[in-house]
Every structure is written in structure tokens, then in C-alpha cells.
Symmetry: C2
Subunit: 579 residues, 2 copies
Amino acid sequence: MTRLFNRPSDFASELIEGFVAAYSDKVRQVPGGVVRNTRSKQGEVAVVIGGGSGHYPAFSGLVGQGLAHGAAMGNLFASPSARQVYSVSRAADNGGGVILSFGNYAGDVLHFGMAKERLNSEGIRCEVLPVTDDISSAPIEERHKRRGIAGDLTVFKTAAAAAEAGYDFDATLAVARRANERTRSLGVAFSGCTLPGASQPLFEVAANKMALGMGIHGEPGIEDCDIPTADELAERLVATLLEELPEGVESPRGQRVTVLLNGLGSVKYEELFVVYRRVAQLLGDAGVEVIEPEVGELVTSFDMAGLSLTLFWLDEELERLWHAPAATPAFRKGEITLAEPLEATELEIPDLDVVTPASSESRRAAGCVLSALEAAERVVLANVEKLGRIDAIAGDGDHGIGMERGVTAAVEKARELEARDAGAGTLLTRAADAWADRAGGTSGALWGVALGALGTAIGDEHAPDAKRVSEGVRRALEGIIHFGKASPGDKTMVDALIPFHETLEREVEGGAELAQAWRKAAEAAHRAAEESAHLVPKIGRARPLAEKSVGTPDPGAISLALIVAAVGEVISKGTPVTA
Amino acid sequence: MTRLFNRPSDFASELIEGFVAAYSDKVRQVPGGVVRNTRSKQGEVAVVIGGGSGHYPAFSGLVGQGLAHGAAMGNLFASPSARQVYSVSRAADNGGGVILSFGNYAGDVLHFGMAKERLNSEGIRCEVLPVTDDISSAPIEERHKRRGIAGDLTVFKTAAAAAEAGYDFDATLAVARRANERTRSLGVAFSGCTLPGASQPLFEVAANKMALGMGIHGEPGIEDCDIPTADELAERLVATLLEELPEGVESPRGQRVTVLLNGLGSVKYEELFVVYRRVAQLLGDAGVEVIEPEVGELVTSFDMAGLSLTLFWLDEELERLWHAPAATPAFRKGEITLAEPLEATELEIPDLDVVTPASSESRRAAGCVLSALEAAERVVLANVEKLGRIDAIAGDGDHGIGMERGVTAAVEKARELEARDAGAGTLLTRAADAWADRAGGTSGALWGVALGALGTAIGDEHAPDAKRVSEGVRRALEGIIHFGKASPGDKTMVDALIPFHETLEREVEGGAELAQAWRKAAEAAHRAAEESAHLVPKIGRARPLAEKSVGTPDPGAISLALIVAAVGEVISKGTPVTA
């Protein structure tokens, strides 16, 4: 269990401070995480990694020469926000574009994906590469659904080595993809971890049992069994991993493979070596040549008891890149020539808080956007309990308080920006960021996506007319579908947003004023939200829970309907629309 | 707890195999432990470290360029035997002498000390340097009694860097001593570890309590208290360490210090960083400049929950040596030029099992020595239970089975050597090694010392006459007093051995034959052993236990008396003495 902390809510930020204090020769803190404190070549592709905190040395401990250029560091076991990823990427960018790599978890996929869009929109080339090495988390046919565990390291390491060797963006990305395709892991767990201040473990394994394939956040495994001997465990892991050779590898015999035997926290080094002894024998028996293995703690989960075995099937290029020297706080390898440290003032940290000048129309409109957000806040606050109750029927019941955190943060930020003469687009975009940052969870991130898209469409130049607003709503819907991966009928907020968007667009195209069009659209959203009670969720929890929710509307759809109705009243009273 | 093992008794040797399989580029297994697998300069002083297994990366993980030249690896939490230390030292020696460094624990002091004597006797320069950094384990006036914990690393590292920089033996030793004098640590514990196959933890800390100063094997701390916040813990550790500045340091202000914040196993990196954050602030406030700190797992104790803070007060030379590059399996630093790997056949491993030619008289005498050992075995086997019962009154009751293991191993080895035509001296010396290796514990080690001294005095050239035997017994007594640190009257085997020696010497000097002199000496030993019942032990356990033993003779003294009586009968029947 985690025993040493101050206020649990400060843990994640305090650990970054301590980490940076310890390794200031190698890393530097920037908003959202850390970047290298050493000079990289101009034009070098930047490999930016990240994820929730609690997995040290992943992710911050892997930042440094020969490995990642930066790491976005989320809260404990929680994805960093899109804004954090964006901020770290901007600081890490050397003018050669950014490859974002991370374990394939829903929150990370969402936030890194949003950051990518933002970087692209600013002309910075960026691609995402979620690592999918955990073979127990989905069958090979659904490889894209697999989680990323200790195999993160082989992907990060080879991609970064390629970047440092001067590979261009496409070639670096190709290395990262091939490394991911040729990396396979399988893990086991004996006990879960207890987070700072928590009274219960985050997850548990039955006493004297081993959970085969359990994930590093306690995701269910594929089998519970008695704890085997060290040799039996080695045999099980090696045999299973040798059953799934990467494409192009016909037989293990004659292959060169890097092996990672990774401890998750409290399965200690001595046990790992006893297991590794048998792993090495078995791979030798299978005709596999092991190249520069690592036995130790590479991706942990606090003091979770467990381990994973990773096989990284090398080819000539990947072996050269794996072999390349590296010097990070937690991973050092080979004969390195240390890079020059950056001067204290040298790193260009983007000022994410700058307010660019806006037209006077847009500044006036910003006041109306603020009023709309305040109306949204009032209606959310009046319904927090109700939203929680609806959500609790088939979910975890936190939808109400999540919405409260998000909308409150958005209003606070909007007030600040209105006072600073921001335009309507900037005000709404920043309010969206604040919402996503503070609300957490998927629904918070999606509200951030939606309001951000709307804000971008509105811009800081013109007053937002009906056409622009309608166009913004269309983009908001596209963003939510893209990042939220929900289809109509899946019982999500999309089921209310689609009729809202369609009605608004039809009315506006038919020549209606914004206030009237919006009111009709809001009514459509309301009806659709009520009707969502008949639907069965497709995404998310187990079958019995999904069925339990039939008869209750989707809380996300209800939130949306309530908010658009409240905003409609603001528009009717004093619309900022010019035409 | 330790979950992954095969047969618990194989754990220590299997972990070495796995470790060497993983890091064969850096280390090579030799009898007794590991040495570097890279070439060192001819004439370079060798730094050989070691201790019980279970503390990875101490000790094997610290072997490699820029750090230790070899590590003797004992069983779990048990000192390596003198023979192991000797063997590793012989393999690590580059012709420049050997510095043996290790944590200051009784078993290690004994065995490394014995290995030193043996190396010296073979003309290899050797000194021991026990590390004494744990300030909670004894007051400053008794610094030599303090235990060694994570501060081991600063001593090993700077000594080895000095050796690699070409310092001669005395200068390297001076660096090691100064590093030890300028290294101070303080640790805390929250829970103990459970060894492979054990059903109970080796030691425990009360729930929700913290033991300040508890040792890495569960040695009692100085205070139990509630678990503090991370900041409070940092404040307590820093304040206590700053109270005891090393000699020559008047004030912390302006000093340059290396900091190690060491996790013992399941206090994880994130917690360490949160604590380190405050440590760095406090040292900054005190005007201390922190140089190249390390936050991580440096000296562990399986999955024990705890940490220690070490301050290493640098001077210019120590800072340069700390800064020097290193590349071991678990500790890498700086810009290193990797040394050439050794060829497979290149390392000269001393054949500890070679039998040098002996005179025919000595070979005949070897048969009598074997008979004497067999007689000792018979009398021990007949008294195992009795010896255990006596020992159980104030001890742990294992004296009988320890003696059984030792004497059985000695007879086995003696039979093998007799069949290989060994001389009496070689036969007895090797039997002594086998006794110490197999018996374990202090009493086993001391029987190894005693028989080894006797065997060396007898030699392989002449038949052992009365004078030589008497001289050998004197050396055996000296060895036991030197390594066992017992004085007459402390209620140990010394209380029987002194009258045995004095009587034997007097009789032999008076012209008596060996058989007659030995019989009188054995009678004196028997009387003294019986009289040891009146004594109160000075060494060892707590007062109440010591008093409990009054009225019962010392089991070690009884063993000695039984054995010398049985050997006396063999000598009387057919003595190998020529004059």
C-alpha cells in the first residue's frame, strides 16, 4: 500500500516536483509533464510518451537522451488531459514533428488523439501510436483493442533511437509501428495496490491465487489459478508467447529476441532472476537467441505484486536501435556521449494562456457566451443529484458531480477571459479546456471536445452568426463521434446530439433565426433524451448492467438536453447574432 | 512476500544463475559469487564486496565497470562463507591486492576477516572495510558497531573509482575509509519480508506504525511511532542526519552532499519522489548543495516496506570519484567507455580443489586425521539431541544440528581427500572449509577457523609431531579469539579451549608424548566445560536469557570437550606421531 504522502490530492504534482529535483540534469518540468533537459538536434522527430502516474519508471523516468523527448504525466492511473499532452508536445517539438506513443487505454487514446488534432491544426505534424503488446487483453484478430504494458519500452526506445539517428517522420513512425507489431507481452498478478489515502486496494486477487493476464490497473485477466512454482510460471509464459509469432516469423528457431522480465512493484528482483533463469533456458531450447534482456522494474503499478514477460522479435534495424545508447533517469544503456544541458532560459515553453486580440464584435459576443455558460452551470447545479441517480442505475453514479466540476471550471475560466477582453472563440475554447481538465473521465473530455470545436468554428473575428454556430455544432458532433467512438443508438449523449444538430442545421438552412432554430433543436434533443430510456448501452459495462439501464434515459443525453434548453433561453433573450 | 520460487533451498543458487544469464555482458559466475566479465588493468586494486542475498541490487548488481570487481553472494540474509569470499577474491584479483567491503554484520565481519587472513597468507595484500553508515544502530562513540545499509554504495563506488583511476592499494583504502567516515544513513520500516517458503514474515512492524531505525534484516529500531506524512518523515530524517556532521565539517552550510533516498522494496518510486521533494527543500534551506543524488532501490530487503536516507559528505576527491562513470547491471552513471569483455577462457579461476603433492609420512598421517574426524562425527551424532537441549535453554537450540551438519561435511570431504592421496595438512584444511560452509552460523565458522589453523600448522611435509600439534592448537585458539571476539569467562567454547591448550602445551613442553599430553588436556577441557555452568554469557542475547542459562554448561564448550576426548582415544590407539 502507499503510505507516504501529504494531501492525497497533491500526490501526483508533488511526485513530479521531487522527480525533477532529483534528476534536473536530465529532465525539466513543463506544464503537463516533463521534457528532456538536454539539447536535441533541430528538426529531430520528437517522441512524446505519457499516461497516468503510478507506473514509474513509466513514463517520466524514460525521458532523456536516446529515449523519449517528453512525457505527459496524468493524475494517478488517469490519462493526462489533451491540454497536458499538447503542452508537453509543444515544448518537446524540435521542428520535426511529434510522435505520441502511449499504452492503448480509452482515456489515453482520447486525450492523445485530441492533442494530435490540435497540433495538426497548428501545422505541427503529429501521429499517435498506441502500444498494444498485452496478448491476454484481446485476441490477435482484435489486436487494436489490446492494452499496452511493459512492451511500451521497446516501442518508445526504438522509435526514439531512430529519431536520434536522423530518421525522418515517416521512417520513425514506421519503426515505432513495426516495433509494436513485433512486441508481445503476458503478465500475471498476485495482489493489487492501494492508492494514497485510499482505505481499500484498488483491486484484489484472491489469496494464494494468481490472475493470468490481469492488467496493470487491475483489468480482469483470463484465468485465476493457484500460484505456480517459478519454473512453471516461466513455462506457461514462454509457451503462450511462443504460440503467437509476429507476422513474417515462421518459427522461433534462429530468431533474435529481446526479453523484458518486468516486476510490477513487489515481486522483487531475486524472484525475477529465479524466473528468468528458466525463461532463458526455455528460449534457448526453442532456438531463440536472447539479445540484451532487461530484468527489473520497467512499468510498475505502485506496489502491485505481479510480473510480465515481453518478447521483442528483432530484425536487423530494430536490434541496432535497441542497442543504441540511452541515458534517462531510470534507463541507461551502452556507451553514451552525454548531450549538452539546455540553458535555464533556452527551452521555448508555449504560453498556453496568451489572449490574442479579437474584434469588438467577437468581444461583445464573448459576453453572451459567458451568459450561456452561466446558464448551463445553473441548470447543471440544479440537477446534480438527479443526474447522479440516473447514472447510478447502470454506471458509477458520478455523472452529476463530473458535470458540476466541469461546468464550474468552464465558467470560472470564461469569466477570467471575458475580463481580459478575449474574443468569443478563445473564451469558449479555453473554457472547454478547463472543463475537460477539471471534470476528468470520458464525458468531461467529450464536453471539452464539443465546446472546443464550437469555439474554433466561432473564432475571434466575426460575431457568431447562425451559420457559424450551426457549423460549429456539426463539428462538435463529429468530434464526439470520432473521439468517443459511439454510434447512434449506443445510448450515449450522441443520441440527443444528432437530432439537435440535424434540426438546427435544417432550420438555419431554411432561413430561421438562431434563437428560433436553437429552440426547435433543443426540443428535439429533449425528446431524444427521453426516448433514450428504451435503448440498451453498447459501450461500457457488462451485459447485466446494460440491461438494468433499460427504462432509464442516458444521463449524458439528459445533461445535453438540459444544457441546450437553458442556453436557448439566453439566446432568445439577447442573442449575439448579427444576421 | 516472496511467492515465486522452486525449492526454497535452491533459491539463492537459482537467482545467481538467472542474474548471470541476464547480464552475461557484465558479470560472470565463479565459485562463491560473481566477478566482472570485462577486462581490468593489470595491477589494479580489486574491490570485492558481498553479503547475504536478498538485497538486490546489493551486492551482485553492483559488480561491473566503475564499481565492484566481484561480489561474494551468501545464502538469503546470511553471510557468504570465508571460502566463498576467498574464491571470489582470487578470481577478482588483478595483482594489485583486494579490498573487501561489506555491511558491518557479525557474520560478514567473521567470514570476510577469515578470507583476508587466507589471502594474506598466500601473499595477496588484502584489507577489510566494514561499512558503518546506519546512525541509529549505535552512538557515534561506538561507530565501529554501526551497521551498514544503503551507504554501502558510496563506499563501494568511490573506492572502485579510485582503483580504476590507478590509485595504489593504500590510497584506495584511504578513499574507502574516508567515504565510510563521511557517509551517514537513517532508515525506517513499515513491514518486514517473508522469505521463500516461509509461512511467517521474518519480522514485523505493528499495523499503522513506523519503526525508526529498524535494520534491513529486522534489527530493532530506536522508536516506534505513527506513520507520519511524507513531509514530516523527510523533516525527521534530515534533521537527525544534520545533527551528526562528519569530522571536519563544522556546518552544513556550503557543503556539497550526495543524497541517496533508498527504497527497501515496496515503498515505491512515487512515494520516494514525494519524500525527496521535501528532502531537497530542507537541504536547500540548510545551505547544502546536493550533487548527483539517487532516488530508487539501491539496497533492498525483498519486499520489505521502508526507506532510508543517506547523506554522503563530499570533498573534492570524493566528488570526482562519485561522478566517475560506471556500468553495472543495476547502477549506470555518466559517459562510459565500455571495457573489453573477457574471453570465455580468459579468467583465471583458482582451482580450490587441487591436491598438492605431500610427503609419504604426511599421507599416512592423513589417514589418522580422518580417523580422528570420524571419531568426532560419532560423538557428535550420539549427542545431537543433548547439545540441542542445552542450547535451547538460552539460545535457539540449533547447536546440535549445526555441529552435525559441520562434522558430517568435514568427514565426507576428508574421505574424498584421503582417497586422492592428500597430505594431513591439506586434508584437515579442506575438511575445515567444508565444516564451515555446511554448518553455517558463528559456531560453524569458528570450527572452520580452528581446524583450518591446525591443518595449516601440521602441513603436508612432515608427520605431525607433538610440538606441531600443540603449536596448531595454539593457533586455533588465537583464531577463535580473534574472529569470535570472545574473552575467557564469556561462556563460550573458549572457556574449554584455553585449559585444553594450556595443558597440552605444558605437557608437551615437559616432554610428554602426544597421546598422554592430549588425554590430560582433554580432561582439563571436560572439567572446564562442566564448570561453564556457573558462568553468565557476555555476548549475544538479552539479559533475562543470559541469566536463564546459569546452571547449564555452554553447549559449545561441551561439544569441544566431547570431541577432544573422542580424538584422544584415536591418538592413544594408533598415534601418527613420529617422535
